[in-house]
Structure formats: structure tokens, C-alpha cells
Symmetry: C2
Subunit: 319 residues, 2 copies
């Protein structure tokens, strides 16, 4: 099949088609990945997260340009929480990255939240595999680090860069979102602004208060707009890459992520199946009873389990 060959050759249109499958026709994407999975395994995944407005896109742009200038092939997945008001990706970011997207060794894709929870993380997982298969050396996942599900997505990465900017109240926000502890590298972007040194000191204190890890997350001051600090940041990424490979941490992380992904897949298969089998009329009748407080949800769930597995003449779930 053409798509398979072209994907292995790193053809951009083939990558685009495969990721569209991942978003809209997961079964097609799964078949593709199953066939080509053994050709994957070279890509290193970098996650970039932080509150809106800290400059994640510019930072990604500059890092990727430097990586590409050194001969690397790079894929970028920009995760956008979709809203009916914006319809997905923010236009500004797209324009900013346009010259990068012209580069033959760079593939950029915006992915938006669609449908139910968990769907985006599944599609992102597939997109990472597809980019890996296509021969990327680095894959960047950029998310807005403001919620639990966004955190779940960035956790796919091997190295997680947490971006902050002085005087934006990001510190409080990051704490509230419980995201600080997942950072492997911290960036104070826009560090020519007032409060940058204060931010570094506060961050250092917080990191010292947190659970001790063998890897001490470095804090890098960057002015992405002016390309300042990008080389230092990339060196920190390389250092972390070496560290997690040598220490066995990379294996542990990938194992954990794999378990999460496995459970996700099992859950969605089972859910689809059980919902197909439940009698719709009976469901409606009982939900009405629950709303009218004539029946409780938990007893009804047990009923479903009993009925569902009795029709299969096999009770596999016994309380």
C-alpha cells in the first residue's frame, strides 16, 4: 500500500493522512500502526506545557529550528482545547510557525479536543507513534497546562518542559493545577521582564520543598523571542535524555504510559460493547426512576451487570 511506504519515507502528506485517521478513523490508524510498529522507536518525545501566554509556541519554534539546523527531523503536535468560539487552533500560533512548516524536516500539526474525554489523549498517542514511524528524531507535544486531562497528555513525553513567565501569576496557577511536580526542566521565558530573578528563586524554593528526586530539574532563563537561552535549554534536554536512558527512568516512564494507554483502550472497547447491548427502552425507564428517586443508580448498575452477563450465560463479574 502506498500510504505505508510513504509514511516510512517521512512523506508529509502521508503523515497528515495517518494523523487524520488517528483523529477520525481510529481503526484505520490502528491497522496502519500495527503493520509498521516495528519500524518505530527512534523518536525522543519532548513535552512543553505552561499557562496560556507564557510563550510556549515561540519557544517550541526556536528549539525546533536549532534542532533542525543540526540535521534532526522534528514533528510538532500542538494540542488545542477546542472551543466553539475559536474552532480549535489559535490563528496567531499558526501564523507564527508558518516558516517552520515550510522546512522539509519539520511536520507541524494542531490537534483539538473533540468528543468525549480521553479521546484526545488516545489520538495524541497514535499521532506520536505515527511520527515515530515516519522517522522523526524528536517529537514535540505542546499543551496548555491548565487541567488534569492536559497534564495526562503531556505525560506521554520523555522529557517535560514546564514554561513560566514572570509576573503572570503562573506560579499560583501551576500549583493549583498540580503540574509543578511533572516538570523535568523549568523555563522562565520572557526573562528580560521584571520579576524574572524572583521567579527563579521562588521556583527553586518550591522544587526544594518537593519530593527529592535523583534528577534535579534545572531552571533555565530564556528570551525565546530573541533566541536567547535556547542552546542552554536544548543542552538541558540532551542532558535529561542521557540521564533517563542511563538510569532506567526512560523504561519506567514508557512502561507506565503503556499501562495507562492499555487500560484506556480496554475501557473504550468495553464501553462501546456494553452500551450496544443495553436495552435502550429499559435504560430510559430506569433512568427516569432514578431521577424520581424510586431507584438508585448503584442498584441499577448491578441489575445491568446481572442482566448483561446472564444473557451471556456466564457471570464473570460477581460483585
Amino acid at each position: 500500500m502506498d500510504l505505508e511506504k510513504e509514511l516510512l519515507l517521512g512523506d508529509k502528506r502521508a503523515i497528515a493522512r495517518a494523523i487524520t485517521y488517528a483523529e477520525n478513523y481510529p481503526d484505520k490508524a490502528i491497522n496502519l500502526i500495527k503493520k509498521l510498529y516495528k519500524k518505530s522507536g527512534n523518536a525522543f518525545v519532548v513535552g512543553i506545557t505552561g499557562a496560556p501566554g507564557v510563550g510556549k509556541s515561540t519557544l517550541t519554534d526556536k528549539m525546533v529550528k536549532e534542532l533542525v539546523s543540526k540535521g534532526n527531523k522534528v514533528g510538532i503536535l500542538a494540542i488545542d482545547p477546542t472551543s466553539p468560539f475559536t474552532g480549535g487552533a489559535i490563528l496567531g500560533d499558526r501564523i507564527r510557525m508558518q516558516d517552520l512548516s515550510q522546512n522539509p524536516n519539520v511536520y507541524i500539526r494542531s490537534m483539538g479536543t473533540r468528543g468525549h474525554l480521553g479521546g484526545l489523549s488516545k489520538a495524541t498517542n497514535m499521532a506520536v507513534k505515527i511520527l515515530d514511524i515516519s522517522g522523526m528524531d524528536y517529537i514535540f507535544i505542546e499543551t496548555v497546562g491548565v487541567g488534569q486531562s492536559e497534564i495526562e497528555i503531556v505525560k506521554i513525553a520523555d522529557t517535560i518542559i514546564m514554561v513560566l513567565a514572570p509576573g503572570m501569576g503562573d506560579d499560583i496557577q501551576a500549583i493549583k493545577a498540580g503540574i509543578m511536580e511533572i516538570g523535568d526542566i523549568f523555563v522562565i521565558n520572557k526573562s528580560d521582564r521584571e520579576g524574572a530573578d524572583k521567579a527563579v528563586i521562588e521556583l527553586r524554593m518550591m522544587l526544594e520543598l518537593s519530593e527529592k528526586r535523583k534528577w534535579v530539574p534545572p531552571i533555565i532563563k530564556v528570551i525565546a523571542q530573541e533566541n536567547k537561552g535556547i542552546t542552554e535549554l536544548l543542552n538541558a534536554v540532551f542532558k535529561h535524555k542521557t540521564y533517563i536512558k542511563d538510569s532506567g527512568e526512560l523504561y519506567k516512564r514508557r512502561l507506565e504510559n503503556l499501562k495507562t494507554e492499555l487500560i484506556d483502550i480496554i475501557i473504550s472497547k468495553l464501553t462501546r460493547d456494553i452500551l450496544d447491548k443495553i436495552n435502550k427502552e429499559n435504560l430510559q425507564k430506569n433512568l427516569d426512576k432514578i431521577i424520581n428517586k424510586e431507584l438508585d443508580l448503584y442498584s441499577f448498575t448491578e441489575e445491568i451487570f446481572n442482566e448483561y452477563f446472564l444473557t451471556n450465560k456466564e457471570v464473570y463479574y460477581d460483585k
Copy 2:
């Protein structure tokens, strides 16, 4: 059993114990709710959400004080994304609400994100039922509206209040988080600050651009600190309460929420069960193979399904 009686009487310690069950011993909470569910059904649930720093806690505090002064019993669930740095609830909020918690007709509880995704929403659902059973007239759910999972939680509510403050960049944030469309009532808090009228105008424009609904969400200017606008806000809540009851919207919402909750429960039961049954040694061996690219995740998932259901001598999932 004492706990049941005390809970029905609205005893605070009984409520606390029951919610602790919901968080840590869900089976115990389920048994309790099953027994008492028919006694529930009076509470109206108000969700309050918005970015960090917009003043949700103060707003809740003032609204609840006014409701209580009119003879209502109120429960408050403050949902805090937990972080190792804060250990859950933010101390300031707790102190601020202290005099409210002394009131015999108010019960306040902080609930933090624990363990895996979805767990908090399940515990919150149970806590709402427990508060309803304990005789509350109103239940407030306060979440930080920054992520998909936080949005899922506030959706439990019958009326959703979206709080903004002028000049905090909340507008962009709210759009990015895709949360605007779920608000039934919008509050511009700290409306003595510069930019309040601009915020109202922008918000009105956005609401007009969005999908037309029969209920036009009002925008209420409030200065919660000074207790200004609280009565107007509560009147908007009462108006929305009447509207959704009369229009059948309340039934629809509760039905949707019930379906979501039902699926959640089914999924977690099935997941627990299937994970218990998978051979641990075999799992580890195959996950290693996947990491080494000798096997792909999707083929392994199919293997699990085949093996799992063959041991039950019944294939209920056929691709």
C-alpha cells in the same frame, strides 16, 4: 445503624464521615446511598467555576450567607486540584470560610484530586447525593475552571455560574478552556476595577456569537468583597431554577448527568475486573516486548480480549 439516622438528621459529623467514605471507601458510601437514596431529591445544585484568582470563594461565601439567612441549609464542596506543594485545599480559602463553617446550617468540604482521572468526579457525585440525603436545600460545587476534567465536575450542577474578573486575561483563558458555553449565569466579580464594563460588553458579544439558547445567560456585576450584587446574583439563580424546572431542561440535564455517571461506574467495575484477571507475569513480558518494538499495543489488546473471554468460555466482544 447510627450513621444513617444521623445523616438523615443532617448531623455534620455524619456527613463528614459519609463523604470520607465516598473518597476512600466507595463501597461503604454506595451502600449508604443505596439505603437512603429515596430520602433525597430536595437539593438544588449550583456550580461555581472560573480561573484562579477571580474570587470564587468569596462569592460563594457571600451567596451562601444570604441563602442561610433566609432559612436554607447549604452544603459546599470546594474542589481543589491537589498538588504535593499545597497538600490539597488552599489555606487562605479555608480561613476565609471559617466563620461560615461555624454556622449550623452550613457544611463545607474540600475535595482534592486523588489517584486516577475520573475518581474525583465519582467522589463528587457521591458527595452531592450524601448532602442531598442530609437535607440540604442548596449544594454549591466550586471548581477551578481550567481543564476538561474540572468542567466535567461542574457539569453535575443544575445551574452553572461562570465567574470572571476584569483585566485578568480570563476571557482568553475561558475561551481556550472551552468553558464559556456551559455558563448559565455570568458574573463579573471585582467590578469596581478598571475594565469591568468592557468585560461585560465583550462577554455579551461572545454570548451573542454562540449558539442560540432559549435561556439567555445574564451577566451580573458583583463586588463580592463588599457584598454588592449578591442579591441580584441570587435572584438570577432563582430565575434560572424556575426556568429549568418549568422548561423540562432540569430533567434533561439530570438525565445526561445520570448517563455519564452510569457509564463511569460501569467502566470502573469492568476495568477493575479485567485487570484482576490479567496474568501479571504475562502482562509484564508483553509490555516489555511493546517497549522493545517487538509487539504493538493494539495486537496485545486483542490478545487480552481473546484470552480473557475464552477463559469465560464465551466471546462477548467480537471485534
